[in-house]
Amino acid sequence: MAHASDSLVAHHFEDIDQQNESAVLGMWLFLAQEILFFGGLFAAYFVYRVKYPDAWAAASSELDIYLGGFNTVVLLVSSFTMAVSVNAAQTGKQQRLMMGMLVTLALGLTFVVVKFFEYKAKWDHGMIPGSGFVYHSTTGDYFAGVNPDQIQLFFCLYFVMTGMHALHMIIGAGLLLWLLALGYNGHFGPHRFMKVELFGFYWHFVDIVWVFLFPMLYLIDRSWMLQG
């Protein structure tokens, strides 16, 4: 039997390949689970969007497209820096790995902070779902006549969907801190990089969720912006 004397291999695995392949498959299955988790929200979103198209367009226009767009760029760049980190881990470039993860963490936190200010703006305008919800239109009479209750329904979904996404970002930031601490102690090397690679999977997944959330929530009907 091919017994692994290498301490990198846990006792119940035969060799490092079996261990790594198991970890990768496990991560894919976890992400499949995540897709279905967000899938429930997406289903609810589409049901109501088809039911209330006008309210959806009007409510979407209340979101800050500039902050949302900025955050989209932030996340896409962070995906790039994470990919660089994974590559650095695989090739054993310690300094590049640490820099890459540090920048990724900074970008992730930037996203969360910007999101916080977006939420705060909605809070200040009373557009928080619940008994005190008020709809202040900032689009003039372009969307006149929409039902404010349905606007509130949109914001229910907006807060749950982006909140769930932000929660994943915060968990990701925590994991990154842990990986940075491990890296600082010299944990990673060209034969020991699975933790970074698997975290990369997770980080890209959270980014991709945002790539769907951004157009679905912010870009439903922006034609009023062109009418000066």
Binding site: G26, L36, G40, A44, Q152, V160, M164
Partner: protein, 548 residues
């Protein structure tokens, strides 16, 4: 002829095994050994089963008389809700996979542990967290929405502990997801040399299919419960009709998981039956590949039938027709299994040890449960049967007559492997018969009373239905005795049972090639198993077929 006595004559209890490895409490609570985690689960779910069962006893006592004399209606609502929540989320879902499956899958495919031992332990603690939430619900006064948490009972009009109940189901759900994830990776990546996909025991196939449902279905109910909880706490009314939300959307999202979940509650049981039937009729399974693929077919088709819970919810007739048709389709792979087990028995050398009695009980009761399911899957008939005791009887035939029978069957079959001790065979047979008789007496009258129109979830009923309800309560008493017996003789066997030996049933499969109980890493580490034959290579020891 094989006899149990023969196999046991020379049996000695192995000195080195996973139970004796270490004795401290911490060595159990922080173990990453799949066998020990399975035992932790077994103890915990048995406690939850007893708790859920005591609520069932209260229900049957109340229904002994037409008047509401034992419980008032609010209390009754809480009692049947807690019965459902505890039995479904804390017993049926984890029953076979988390205990017997957890114990056996690495043994059956010839590896040392599940792929992620620590995640396995995490899944146990998530289950325990969920169970703790369930206890909190109980202490704080219960929940009365029914186990389905339908909005707006659970949102606008709820006065009870809906939030903690959703958290209980949420935590138990993630425990279930992690178990499924662990199984799939283990089955893909950890099989012993020679253990090809089509040499795997059907128990493993059944768990593979179950795991798919756990991973792809459970997260949907998890997010749905999160939405419900946010509606309760912050008034974020996704299902609130006052702001245009749709309560029926909750039903769709809920049943998208909860219908496939009933296959989580039956597929592992079917896996158990395939193992036991072959062993005690000394035959190869009839149509191995059909049985294997029927598990996958049930898992896949099971995702497309949730609307048959909603024929009277206002769902469109067209949607109803489609769901009804697909519901009939899912009966096909289920029937394939029953036909194949029956064909396996044909000309077998059948013996009636306790596990086999439970297996026969499963086949009969699952058949009734399945066939009445077809009635309920028909749109027109369902309008009549909806929310009557007919439905209650149907799903108890599948869940209790099916899964609980299979769980008991598997527990008796593998108890010698798990503990290294034999239980009292006579008592085992008696309990199997008691459960079968008691079960039928409990639930057969409910088909009748449901057909006559008695609605479920009420604590008072018309006097003409009393006879049938008295029969049902009497049956439940016998059923309870049938479950109490094993609760006595299993623990007793731990101390006084005869050593089982490696293979007391003379059964096939890798799990029987190691000691009972197995060592911590399952097999002799210098001599890990290599598989050279197909599953169930049983041979009937007689000269000519059909000589008897």
């Amino acid at each position: 002829m094989h006899t149990i006595a023969e196999a046991q004559r020379s049996a000695v209890f192995p000195e080195v095994n996973y139970l004796s490895a270490r004795h401290t409490v911490a060595s159990w609570l922080f173990t990453v050994d799949h066998k020990r985690i399975a035992m932790l689960y077994l103890v915990t779910i048995s406690i939850m089963f007893a708790l859920g069962g005591s609520f069932a006893a209260l229900i049957r006592l109340e229904l002994l008389t037409p008047a509401g004399d034992l419980l008032d209606s609010d209390t009754y609502n809480k009692v049947f809700t807690l019965h459902g929540v505890i039995m479904i989320f804390f017993f049926l879902i984890p029953s076979v996979p988390a205990t017997i499956g957890n114990f056996l899958i690495p043994l059956m495919i010839g590896c040392k542990d599940l792929a992620f031992p620590r995640i396995n332990l995490l899944s146990y603690y998530l289950y325990l967290l969920g169970a703790t939430f369930a206890i909190i619900v109980l202490v704080r006064g219960g929940v009365d929405t029914g186990w389905t948490f339908y909005t707006p009972y659970s949102s606008t009009y709820a006065q009870t502990e809906v939030f903690y109940a959703t958290m209980a189901a949420f935590a138990a759900g993630f425990s279930s997801i992690l178990t499924g994830l662990n199984f799939i990776v283990t089955i893909h990546k950890m099989r012993a040399p020679g253990m090809s996909w089509f040499r795997m025991p059907l128990f493993v196939w059944a768990h593979y299919a179950t795991s798919l449902i756990q991973i792809l279905g459970t997260p949907v109910v998890a997010i749905t419960l999160v939405l419900l909880a946010t509606e309760r706490i912050w008034g974020v009314g996704i299902f609130n009709p006052n702001i245009g939300g749709d309560p029926v959307l909750f039903q769709h999202l809920f049943w998208f998981y909860s219908h496939p979940a009933v296959y989580v509650m039956i597929l592992p049981g079917m896996g158990v039956i395939s193992e036991v039937i072959t062993c005690f009729s000394r035959k190869r399974i009839f149509g191995y590949t059909f049985v294997a693929f029927s598990s996958l077919a049930i898992a896949v088709i099971g995702f497309l039938v949730w609307g048959h819970h909603m024929y009277v919810s206002g769902q469109s007739v067209f949607a109803g027709i489609v769901f009804s048709f697909i519901t009939f389709l899912v009966a096909v792979p289920s029937a394939i299994k029953v036909f194949n087990w029956t064909a396996t028995l044909y000309k077998g050398e059948i013996t009636f040890e306790a596990p086999m009695i439970y297996a026969f009980g499963f086949m009969g009761l699952f058949l009734v449960g399945g066939l009445t399911g077809i009635l309920l899957g028909s749109m027109g008939a369902d309008v009549h049967f909806h929310d009557t005791y007919f439905v209650v009887a149907h799903f108890h035939y599948v869940m209790v007559g099916g899964m609980v029978m299979a769980f008991m069957c598997g527990l008796h079959f593998w108890w010698p492997k798990m503990t290294g001790r034999m239980y009292n065979e006579t008592l085992g047979q008696i309990s199997g018969i008691l459960v079968f008789v008691g079960f039928n007496l409990t639930f057969m009258p409910q088909f009748l009373v449901g057909y006559l129109g008695m609605p479920r979830r009420y604590h008072v009923y018309s006097e003409e239905w009393q006879m049938l309800n008295v029969m049902s309560t009497l049956g439940a008493t016998i059923l309870g005795l049938g479950y109490i017996l094993p609760a006595i003789y299993f623990p007793w066997s731990l101390f006084k049972g005869a050593p089982a030996g490696d293979n007391p049933w003379d059964a096939k499969g890798l799990e029987w090639e190691t000691t009972s109980p197995p060592p911590t890493f399952n097999f002799d580490e210098e001599n890990m198993p290599v598989v050279t034959e197909e599953a169930y290579a049983y041979v009937i020891e007689r000269n000519t077929l059909g000589a008897r």
